[in-house]
């Protein structure tokens, strides 16, 4: 019993460590005072200031676009990869999968700057396409993990049954395979979106001059000190990502579990 109690106390302390900074930040975003003065005086001042901040709004829209495009592309790629490698032999499969997972272990700093150098050695300026490629490289592993795990669990029997009953390959794909994979594709898409939306390092190196993303705006304003407006931005992002997580978890409980199962195998 004493052991159990100790266990719960330790768990509590750990969660306290993980959550205190985030919760303090959220609470402070509603505080009128600029210097976190206590007691808290409730105010939506910082949110109002935010709503009038054109620069941040534009950066948010950019981030949403980049995240959405990245998510769609990475789901398409991950799905074809999962289906394709499933047909291929065992060796090709493991080789392909470890290649896709490679960016997980490479520091983003190196990834970003080497892509920038690629551009320069081709004599090109920073452009949107390479920015997207960068985002795609870092978010593909996450959607691939979820979708590959799903395809592996699915087995080939249903598809074989479908084609032996006379369905064409295409019919089998969109009447049988696709519906079975859809939850994994959705949650893979959400994951990729969040990786891309939150990513700072890749955008920092590759974004065309004059454009920004939300994480870049955050970085440039906190690099030089403390700005209370950022409390509000952070709170909105946190709440939005929490709801995305909730949706993802609801859509596909098993694929999240699979994600961590396969994490162990590859990491």
């Amino acid at each position: 019993m004493a052991k159990k109690l100790f266990g719960w106390i330790y768990t509590g302390l750990l969660l306290l460590f993980l959550y205190t900074p985030i919760i303090v930040l959220m609470v402070m975003s509603f505080n009128r005072s600029q210097y976190n003065a206590l007691p808290i005086e409730f105010s939506l001042k910082w949110y109002k200031a935010l709503a009038g901040n054109e620069k941040i709004l534009q950066a948010t829209i950019n981030s949403l676009w980049i995240g959405a495009i990245t998510a769609v592309l990475s789901v398409i790629l991950a799905t074809s990869l999962a289906l394709g490698t499933n047909l291929a032999g065992r060796k090709t499969r493991t080789a392909m999968q470890s290649l896709v997972m490679l960016p997980l272990t490479m520091p983003w700093l190196i990834m970003g700057l080497s892509l920038l150098l690629l551009l320069r050695s081709l004599g090109l300026d920073r452009n949107f396409i390479v920015l997207l490629i960068g985002h795609l490289i870092i978010s593909l592993p996450y959607s691939a993990l979820v979708i590959i795990a799903r395809v592996r669990d699915m087995g080939k029997e249903t598809q074989e049954a479908s084609s032996s009953l006379g369905a064409s390959d295409w019919t089998t794909f969109y009447r049988v395979t696709l519906p079975m994979m859809l939850p994994a594709m959705l949650s893979g898409g959400f994951l990729s979106f969040m990786i891309s939306f939150d990513n700072f390092v890749i955008s920092y190196f590759l974004i065309p001059t004059g454009t920004t993303t939300l994480p870049m705006e955050i970085y440039s304003s906190i690099k030089f000190g403390f700005t209370p407006e950022m409390n509000a931005v952070a709170t909105i992002i946190l709440l939005a990502s929490l709801s995305l997580i909730a949706v993802t978890a609801a859509v596909m409980r098993s694929s999240i579990r699979a994600l961590f199962k396969s994490d162990k195998g590859d990491a």
């Binding site: 052991k3 985030i22 272990t105 190196i110 700057l113 690099k223 950022m230 990502s241 990491a267």
Partner: protein
């Protein structure tokens, strides 16, 4: 195709590292010579390694008991706690660094709270913009990885194995050292890879939480690319960082393979 976008640029980076920043073309190993001739850069490398090592060890010390509690002590509510540990993963690293800045700065919440209980003198905590702040921030970000990897190996250990050890007269500490620890070695090493390697390449947390004291290899590379425009020298440093990353990954995976072999 996409893979070539991930690999080819690394060779270009390598090629860049042999050229001079003044446009003088091929300079051979001059950039590397510059790096190794100045004690500043060597110290920086050591500092980066020490920081990453400290973060890894602290994460391990925090994570191991937590993983053990989750795997062996708590049955009810385990999945919820796991979820809670994983969730902060998905919030942006910038925001988490910023939230610590908020908490730790002089006149910040922690400072005020400690003054209320008369633990702080009111002259400020003096934690923000030190190495300590950077390490706290990095542990906060990477500790969950360690918990998950260790938890997954611990969960696989059959309870009957622990009982067998106990009934054969082993004290708890012996059971831990001779049975549990060897069986979770692979989890520890996987966790170490997931913590140590990203720490080597981090520059956001050191910059935001460490201020001027926070410079590590990552921040120097950032400066070379964004402030000084010493792209070629920056490439040389980045290549050395890549070598460090690959070397530490190689060593750790070799250790893990050995562990897998021993455990069958």
């Amino acid at each position: 195709m996409l893979i070539s976008f991930a690999v080819v640029p690394l060779f270009i980076m390598f090629a860049y590292s042999f050229q001079g920043d003044d446009g003088s073309g091929f300079v051979g190993l001059a950039n590397y010579a510059r790096f190794f001739s100045k004690s500043f850069y060597l110290k920086l490398t050591l500092k980066t390694m020490r920081m990453s090592l400290l973060v890894t060890v602290i994460s391990l010390l925090i994570a191991y008991p937590m993983a053990f509690i989750l795997a062996k002590l708590i049955a009810k509510g385990k999945n919820i706690i796991l979820m809670l540990i994983i969730i902060p993963f998905w919030s942006s690293q910038l925001i988490r660094a910023y939230s610590w800045m908020n908490l730790l700065r002089d006149g910040g919440i922690l400072d005020i709270a400690l003054q209320h209980v008369h633990l702080s003198s009111g002259e400020g905590l003096g934690i923000l913009f030190t190495q300590t702040a950077v390490i706290i921030g990095l542990v906060h970000i990477f500790c969950p990885y360690m918990i998950i990897t260790i938890y997954m190996t611990l969960e696989k250990i059959d309870d009957s194995l622990l009982e067998a050890s106990r009934s054969l007269g082993a004290r708890p500490i012996t059971t831990f050292r001779r049975v549990i620890l060897p069986l979770t070695e692979t989890g520890i090493i996987s966790g170490a890879i997931l913590v140590f390697v990203p720490c080597l390449g981090s520059f956001v947390e050191p910059r935001i939480l460490g201020g001027t004291q926070g410079s590590v290899i990552g921040t120097v590379i950032e400066d070379q690319f964004f402030e000084i425009y010493g792209w070629n020298f920056g490439s040389a440093i980045a290549f050395l960082l890549l070598v460090m990353v690959l070397a530490s990954m190689g060593i750790l995976s070799a250790l893990r393979k050995r562990g897998v072999r021993i455990n069958g």
